[in-house]
C-alpha cells in the first residue's frame, strides 16, 4: 500500500514527464498537418494553406498502390509464418524443461537483439551464395525471421498464466492432443496470439532496414518512402503516404494493447 505523501509528485518531475511524453508525440502530429498543406516544393512551416487535393492525387498513384499491396502481402504472409513458429516454440518452451531451452530462447530473440543491418546483410549474402533471386519470398524470409519473437513473447507470457490442469482434464476426458489444442488451449491463448500477430504485422509493414537488403526491384511502401526521403521528388504525396503508413500500423498496435492489457504486458520490444 502506498503512503499518502507518496501520491503527489514534485512539480519538476511531473513537468519533465509530461514534456518527455510530448517530445514523443508532437513530431508525429506534424505528419498529419503536412499531409494537408498546399505547399508542394518545400517543407515550409507554417503551411501557407490547407487542401485535400493530395489525398486524391495519392489515391490515383499506381506506384503507391503497388507498394501498398506488396507491403500488405509481405506482412500478412510473414505474420502467418511467425504465428505458427512462435506459438509452437512458445508451447514447447513454456510447458517443459529440456536441455537447450535457453538456447532456443536465445535463437528466437537474436534476430532483434542484433542490429537489423546484420540480419539484412547476412541474408543478402546467403541469397547470393545460394543463387536465390530476389522476390517477394526473399522479403518474407527476412520479415518472418524477426517477427517470430513478437508472437513468441506474447504467447509465452500467456502460456505461463494458463493453468495446466485444464489441459490435463481435457486429456483425462478422452480428448486427443489436437482436440485439446482446438478446444482448450487455443481459446485460452487466442487473444495473446491475436495481439502478437497484430504487432508482428505492424513490425513487418513498416520494416525497412532488412527489407532494403532482401528486396530486389520490388518496393514495399517503406522502401518507396525511403527513396523519397533520400531524394525528395514528390513531397506532397510522401506526406500523405507517411500519414497512411502511420495509420495502418497505429490501428493494430492499439488493438493489440486492448487485447492484452489485462495482466500481460507487451513483450518483445525491439525491431
Amino acid at each position: 500500500m502506498r503512503s499518502s505523501q507518496d501520491s503527489r509528485a514534485p512539480l519538476s518531475l511531473k513537468t519533465a514527464a509530461v514534456c518527455g511524453l510530448l517530445f514523443m508525440h508532437l513530431p508525429i502530429l506534424l505528419i498529419f498537418i503536412y499531409a494537408f498543406t498546399t505547399e508542394d516544393k518545400t517543407y515550409q512551416w507554417p503551411p501557407p494553406g490547407f487542401t485535400l487535393k493530395w489525398l486524391g492525387v495519392t489515391w490515383n498513384r499506381p506506384d503507391v498502390w503497388e507498394a501498398m499491396r506488396l507491403s500488405l502481402k509481405v506482412a500478412a504472409i510473414s505474420t502467418c509464418i511467425a504465428l505458427v513458429l512462435g506459438t509452437l516454440s512458445a508451447a514447447a518452451v513454456s510447458r517443459s524443461k529440456f536441455f537447450g531451452r535457453e538456447t532456443i530462447s536465445l535463437l528466437i530473440i537474436l534476430p532483434i537483439a542484433l542490429p537489423g543491418i546484420i540480419t539484412g546483410i547476412a541474408l543478402r549474402s546467403a541469397f547470393s551464395i545460394a543463387d536465390i533471386p530476389f522476390s517477394v519470398w526473399t522479403i518474407v524470409l527476412g520479415h518472418a525471421t524477426f517477427c517470430v519473437v513478437v508472437v513468441y513473447n506474447n504467447a509465452v507470457a500467456r502460456f505461463r498464466r494458463t493453468s495446466t490442469s485444464l489441459v490435463e482434464a481435457s486429456m483425462d476426458l478422452g480428448a486427443n492432443s489436437f482436440q485439446t489444442f482446438r478446444y482448450i488451449i487455443l481459446p485460452n491463448i487466442a487473444t495473446a496470439l491475436l495481439a502478437g500477430g497484430m504487432l508482428a504485422f505492424a513490425l513487418s509493414f513498416d520494416e525497412v532496414i532488412v527489407t532494403t537488403l532482401t528486396a530486389g526491384q520490388q518496393a514495399t511502401l517503406p522502401i518507396w518512402m525511403l527513396e523519397e526521403l533520400v531524394r525528395p521528388r514528390q513531397r506532397p504525396v510522401t506526406n500523405v503516404v507517411a500519414m497512411v503508413v502511420f495509420l495502418v500500423t497505429f490501428v493494430p498496435i492499439l488493438l493489440a494493447y486492448y487485447l492484452i492489457r489485462d495482466g500481460d504486458h507487451v513483450s518483445g520490444q525491439g525491431k
Binding site: L13, M24, L30, Q44, P46, L88, A122, M225, A242
Partner: protein
C-alpha cells in the same frame, strides 16, 4: 494409460499421433520445436555463419575479386584510420544517445511507475507504447520536416529571437554544421527520438517492482529524498536502465538509415557495411564491419546479464 486399451484399436491418424505424443513427450517437444529450429537455424544462423566466414576472406586489390583463402587481412583493414574513425564515431554516438535516453526517459518512467494512477497510467503506457511500435520511417520523416531550413524548429527559434543561439551551437566544431539537418546534433536528436520508448518501458517495469516499504524504511531511517533516490531507487532501477540501454545502444550501432537522411556525410558502421557490400562489392570488409557491433553487443550483453538486466526485460 488405461483408456488407450479400452478404446477400439482402429483409430484415425490424429488419435494415433496424439497417443504417440502422450507416450513419448519428446516426440511432441520435437514436433513443436522443429519448425522454429529449422527456420531460424538454417535461414538465420546459416546466413550469419556464412557471413562471418566471409569476413575471413579477402579481396584482391587488383582484380577486385574475392580470394577464398582464410586470412585476417580484412580485419587488419578495420584498423586503418578511416575505418577506425567510423567505429569510434558510431560508438560515441551510441553512447551519447544512450546516456541522453536515460536522462530523458527517467522522469517519464518514474512518474508513470510511481505516481500515475487510473487514467493517467493508461495515458502513459499507451503514450510510450504507440511511438515504440509505430513506423520507424515515419518518425524519421517527421524529423526531416522539423529540422528543415524552412521547417518548424527554425520558425519557432526565429519567433523567439533565438536564431543566434542555434547559430552558436552549430558553429561548434565537429558536432556543428551548416544546419541542424546536416550536423551530428541533428542525427543525435533523431536517434534519441526514435529509440527513447525502448528505454522507457524496461525502466518503468523495473521501477514498478521497487517495493514502497523500502522507500518508507529509508525515510524512517532518516534519509533525505535525494539520499533515498540514489541509495535505494536508483540501484534497484539499474537493471531496467541497462536493459533499456541494450536497445538504444544496439539499435544506434547498427542503424544506417538515420545518419543517411539526417546528418553530415561522414559514415557510421551501418552505412559502411551497406556501401561495402553494395557498390564496392567488398563483402569480406562488410562482413568484418558487422563483426564490430556483434562483438560490442556480446560484451554488453554479458555485462548486462551479470547486472541482472535480463530479469528486467
Amino acid at each position: 494409460m488405461i483408456h488407450t486399451h479400452t478404446l477400439p484399436d482402429n483409430k484415425g491418424l490424429m488419435a494415433k499421433l496424439s497417443d504417440l505424443f502422450w507416450r513419448r513427450p519428446w516426440v511432441l517437444l520435437l514436433a513443436l520445436l522443429l519448425p522454429a529450429i529449422l527456420w531460424l537455424g538454417i535461414i538465420y544462423i546459416g546466413s550469419l555463419v556464412a557471413l562471418l566466414v566471409q569476413s575471413f576472406f579477402s579481396i584482391d586489390e587488383f582484380s577486385g575479386l574475392i580470394k577464398y583463402e582464410l586470412t585476417l587481412k580484412t580485419y587488419l583493414e578495420l584498423l586503418r584510420p578511416a575505418n577506425l574513425d567510423i567505429i569510434v564515431r558510431t560508438v560515441t554516438m551510441a553512447t551519447s544517445v544512450t546516456v541522453a535516453a536515460v536522462v530523458v526517459a527517467f522522469p517519464i518512467a518514474f512518474y508513470a511507475a510511481r505516481y500515475a494512477r487510473g487514467r493517467w497510467k493508461v495515458v502513459f503506457y499507451v503514450g510510450v507504447m504507440l511511438p515504440l511500435w509505430s513506423s520507424y520511417l515515419v518518425k524519421v520523416y517527421a524529423w526531416k520536416l522539423i529540422l528543415a531550413k524552412e521547417g518548424i524548429l527554425n520558425w519557432i527559434l526565429a519567433k523567439l529571437h533565438l536564431g543566434w543561439a542555434l547559430d552558436g551551437i552549430l558553429s561548434i566544431p565537429v558536432i556543428g554544421g551548416n544546419s541542424l539537418s546536416v550536423s551530428y546534433i541533428g542525427t543525435f536528436f533523431v536517434f534519441l527520438y526514435v529509440w527513447l520508448p525502448f528505454m522507457v518501458l524496461p525502466m518503468q517495469a523495473a521501477l514498478e517492482r521497487v517495493p514502497n516499504s523500502y522507500l518508507e524504511a529509508s525515510a524512517d531511517l532518516g534519509a533525505k529524498p535525494s539520499k533515498t533516490f540514489w541509495s535505494v531507487v536508483f540501484p534497484l532501477a539499474l537493471p531496467g536502465i541497462i536493459a533499456g540501454s541494450i536497445f538504444t545502444f544496439s539499435l544506434t550501432l547498427g542503424d544506417y538509415i538515420i545518419p543517411q537522411i539526417v546528418g553530415s556525410s561522414r559514415l557510421f558502421i551501418g552505412q559502411a557495411v551497406y556501401s561495402h557490400q553494395g557498390t564496392a562489392g567488398n563483402i569480406p570488409l562488410a562482413a568484418a564491419f558487422t563483426v564490430v557491433p556483434i562483438v560490442i553487443m556480446a560484451f554488453y550483453l554479458w555485462f548486462a546479464k551479470r547486472k541482472g538486466a535480463f530479469d528486467a526485460l
